[in-house]
């Protein structure tokens, strides 16, 4: 009923991702936002609306932290909204930016994601305890790694996947991160290093997981006519999708992320994509644990169920492979300031599609890219599809 509007990404920026950064959350927001604006050739006064994404208040340690961060996010006296879907927030915030413009309500929108996990003392792991049901789960002393290990183990069991296949993801992503100037944990490691690393919660080992981090990332979105004025090579947001599964995660089969499939279907439909493995040239898939990259590739229908490990071992997902996955280095390599990590993936696709990814550039002039994030109690998928 309304004319559908095109939405462009015209600038991106990010801070270093590190275990501890000196900046306050507000200052991190400002640094990333300022860079994105500079890249877009815009000033704050040109911005009509601001959208912020940030994960639990229990990390930064401020109730209603969206409100607290507002001035750093450039929201002073502007329409400003915070969206929040756990770990899926980073990519979802870009989706929220999309509807600010696509609705015809605004022509320019600054989209920022921030996380300062180091404020949580003595360890950010404490905050994760608070994401569980207080009656059914918290009394058991549940930790985040417990439940991801349950999911990983189920996934391995159903498909008969070996740990050495999964470890290949950590090797690839940490190596890719060597080329990322913001990366927290870039490294040249081997499958043996992963298999020999400390067992945290079998089958999860130290090198299977991403770190906790501080950081921020931002993009600038505009309407089509603004984008044409600002740049010769805008990147268009062509599809957005998101979906949530039931709270009762022990009532579902964890071997397959159905919710990611639902989110992807929504985005593919909007973008007119019928054959994802053929039509997606580069993908940033959420990888807080190495198995999640594989799990999500399957949910995104970039391959068949159970097939992702094989593709990874064969090198298909390397930067120069047929289906490059996480050329940035992902969360395993670049770091995982939750919401900012998802936004980093959106930034990476922007840079890849513009041919500006430098040493990380995937060959072959990629035209269509996808970023995805995952969150909540193994129940949230958010997807964005961009085209140059």
């Amino acid at each position: 009923m309304f004319g559908k509007r095109k939405v462009a990404v015209v600038g991106a920026g990010m801070t270093l991702f590190r275990r501890n950064l000196k900046e306050t959350g507000k200052e991190l927001c400002w640094e990333a936002a300022k860079m994105a604006l500079d890249q877009a050739g815009l000033e704050l006064r040109d911005i009509d609306a601001v959208v912020l994404g940030t994960a639990p208040d229990a990390f930064d340690g401020v109730h209603m932290k969206g409100e607290y961060l507002a001035d750093g996010a450039g929201a002073r006296k502007k329409p400003y909204m915070r969206v929040y879907v756990g770990g899926g927030t980073g990519v979802f915030t870009a989706n929220a930016g999309w509807w600010h413009i696509a609705s015809g309500m605004f022509d320019t929108c600054l989209v920022i994601c921030e996380e300062k996990m180091s404020s949580c003392f003595p360890h950010p792991a404490y905050a994760f305890h608070t994401i569980f049901d207080p009656i059914m789960a918290r009394p058991l002393g549940v930790t985040l790694i417990w439940i991801f290990a349950l999911e990983m183990h189920r996934y391995m069991h159903v498909h008969g996947i070996k740990k050495e296949e999964i470890a290949q993801v950590a090797v690839k992503n940490k190596r890719n991160a060597l080329d990322h100037p913001c990366a927290q944990l870039p490294a040249k490691i081997t499958v043996e290093d992963v298999l020999n690393s400390e067992v945290l919660c079998w089958p999860v080992q130290r090198l299977d997981i991403s770190p906790t981090s501080d950081g921020a990332a931002a993009i600038v979105l505009t309407s089509e006519h603004m984008a044409r004025q600002l740049t010769d090579n805008p990147v268009w947001i062509e599809g957005v999708g998101w979906a949530i599964d039931s709270t009762y995660w022990t009532n579902r089969d964890l071997y397959y992320p159905k919710y990611v499939e639902c989110a992807a279907k929504m985005a593919y439909k909007m973008a007119g994509i019928k054959n994802p493995p053929k039509e997606i040239d580069v993908a940033e898939v959420y990888d807080p644990f190495d198995y999640k990259e594989l799990h999500h590739m399957e949910g995104l229908r970039l391959c068949k169920k159970g097939e992702a490990p094989k593709l990874t071992v064969e090198g298909v997902t390397e930067r120069d492979g047929d289906l490059p996955i996480n050329p940035s280095g992902g969360l395993l390599g670049v770091g995982n300031p939750i919401a900012a990590a998802g936004m980093m993936k959106v930034c990476e696709i922007f840079w890849q599609l513009r041919g500006e990814a430098g040493k990380r550039q995937v060959p072959g002039d990629p035209r269509t890219g996808l970023a995805q994030a995952w969150g909540d109690l193994m129940q949230y998928g958010s997807v964005i599809i961009m085209r140059s």
């Binding site: 890249q39 058991l140 290990a149 919660c201 840079w351």
Partner: protein
């Protein structure tokens, strides 16, 4: 990266400096305490745990017997029809073995955690709990297990009224 970008902002703090107290910090302990109303379904569930029974909810439309119980069927979006009990036995759907505590420190004895599909509930209806009385290397997918309850006088109407689930040996039950 734009190759145009020369430098990325962010001032790193070294962990050693933090530990040595060289970084000025403001410390704070928030007051955030709650008394969550358990509500209709979970109040009943907790009460029944005290009696050594596991309560589930039944939706007659889709035929699903769900645990923990809820007042609605989330798929049919209607109130549930009745409550029922499920058995305190079941099989391991998936498991993991934790060598670290909540604060990420190492523990001596690993904790075995599992999703246990309970007998009498619809297929795939599991709960999260611990597994005991077995070496972690012996645990298998699909293994049959049974709840080990606290003595009745020590129960308080909590999920921890079940201490853990233990393997059912051949011939038992």
């Amino acid at each position: 990266m734009s190759e145009k970008i020369k430098e990325y902002p962010g001032v790193r703090i070294k962990t050693a400096d933090l530990r040595a107290g060289l970084v000025p910090l403001v410390k704070y302990k928030p007051e955030a305490k709650y008394a969550w109303s358990a509500g209709i379904a979970m109040s009943r569930f907790l009460e029944e745990l005290k009696n050594g029974r596991i309560l589930a909810s039944v939706c007659k439309k889709c035929g699903r017997i769900a645990v923990p119980p809820r007042v609605f069927c989330e798929f049919c979006f209607k109130p549930i029809d009745e409550y029922t009990y499920v058995k305190d036995t079941g099989k391991i759907n998936t498991y993991s073995v934790s060598f670290i505590a909540a604060d990420a420190s190492r523990v001596k004895e690993p904790t075995i955690v599992a999703v246990i599909e309970l007998d009498g509930a619809s297929p795939g209806m599991g709960i999260l709990h611990k597994i005991g009385e077995i070496d972690w290397k012996e645990v298998k997918f699909g293994m049959r297990v049974k709840a080990v309850w606290k003595p009745p006088e020590q129960r308080e109407g909590a999920i921890t009224d079940i201490l853990y689930f233990k393997p059912i040996k051949e011939g038992e039950m």
